[in-house]
Symmetry: C2
Subunit: 129 residues, 2 copies
């Protein structure tokens, strides 16, 4: 029954009150530490899992072996920098409207999708090449 949870509250605030996208658990932990919120890795993990069940947070897979989370927003895709790992949101979605076609081609009932672009962010393009 709605007992106070400083970790959960802080995680919710961190994710919704920042422009950063696709937080790893470590990212969240560092952010909390920066805010002087004492928290443990497993508590952050549990907070994220909890918020995910609530629908406030979405888990996104970016293929770097780490779980990533972000505040649930409108539908969007992601782009990840091959060099530094930075993640940015991609507005819009080129996949909309292809569902019927994919269902016809595969026999699956399609319920969702995940699109991840890879490339170089502006910063790394200047630095790396």
């Amino acid at each position: 029954m709605a007992r106070p949870s400083h970790v959960r509250d802080a995680v919710r605030e961190a994710l919704s009150g920042s422009t950063r996208h696709a937080w790893s658990i470590e990212d969240v932990l560092h952010e909390l530490r920066g805010r002087r919120v004492s928290a443990d890795f497993s508590s952050v993990f549990r907070a994220l899992t909890f918020l995910e069940r609530e629908g406030l947070v979405s888990r996104v897979e970016l293929g770097d072996g780490k779980a990533r989370f972000e505040a649930t927003h409108g539908h969007h895709e992601h782009v990840r920098c091959d060099s530094c790992g930075a993640v940015a949101p991609v507005p819009g979605c080129p996949v909309e409207g292809t569902r019927a076609q994919v269902e016809r081609a595969t026999g699956f009932t399609i319920t969702g999708h995940r699109l991840l672009f890879s490339g170089l962010c502006a910063e790394c393009r200047g630095r790396v090449g």
Copy 2:
């Protein structure tokens, strides 16, 4: 210098001589066992890594926490069954042609993408709902 490698050979044959897509290392191991090929997990792992460097095999990430591999084919996307985990290829690609737009919107230089559909395969649709 081209020394015989029964594991590598068997892995190559398994991946190219089957309709299955997106093999996990365990999948390959079971297939080899079925073919009476003795092999160890790490040998299969090394064979896959080797074939990947050769370009004969591609590593694909399907967000289930396991590395997946498949024979390198023309560009295609994947669909994964939420219920049983079956993976099927999706011909074509709705993302082609959106690169310029994404680059404009994000400032990244886009070099690739990964699209994964999720849904229910025909079998699970009948069984689960």
